[in-house]
Amino acid sequence: MAGKVRLNKKVIGRILKTVDGGKRAVAQKILANIDDPDARIEVYTTDREVVGIMVPADSQARDGVATRAASAAGISPGKP
């Protein structure tokens, strides 16, 4: 029998908060597909670091600006 595995949650948390892992590059790629001067990238931290793409809410609802840009970059939004 294998011994007990204990996750070092503190270290995992630190990794999620500090390691980029290509997030910024992908966000730049998606942002390049958006033709809207109000679109921008916002970096914030929840239990991990998040690189978000912000667009006006009505552009997303009416035209799907953000979801379409993500699809064009080969990212399927909603589910990783």
Partner: protein
């Protein structure tokens, strides 16, 4: 062999229920530029925001599954009306799901107001998996 058109299939499925249950509600694949909200006549937009293939390759030409995002946006004159229509649309779609379409998630709704028309918009982007029939 026709190309899969999941947005049209979803529109037809919702329309089928609404024709009898909510005759005053409309389902559409595109909203006109000169659209103006009218109380009591909300419009549901079904849009295909694209996505990626799940399994690809020449051996699966026209048979590979797609993971796409379907956007459901309700255009209405009021907020509660918009929310009510969206809830009904999701319920009716899940109950009357077209063949070959798997709904992966129904996320929380985005609520906003259209700067151009003043319509209340309530929108969700559903990841779906489409299997060509």
């Amino acid at each position: 062999m026709p190309q899969p058109d999941p947005a049209a299939a979803i529109k037809a499925a919702i329309e089928q229920v609404w024709d009898t249950d909510h005759a005053e509600w409309a389902v559409t694949l595109h909203v006109d530029d000169d659209y103006r909200p009218v109380a009591g006549s909300p419009v549901l937009l079904v849009a295909d925001d694209g996505g990626t293939t799940v399994h690809g390759g020449a051996w699966l030409v026209r048979k590979d599954m797609l993971r796409i995002v379907i956007r459901l946006t309700v255009f209405a004159a009021g907020r509660s009306e918009a929310r009510e229509v969206l809830d009904a649309a999701v319920d009716d779609l899940v109950a009357n799901r077209p063949a070959g379409i798997r709904i992966e998630n129904v996320p929380a709704a985005l609520e906003t107001r259209d700067r151009e028309t003043g319509a209340f918009l309530v929108s969700i982007t559903m990841p779906v998996i489409v299997r060509p029939l």
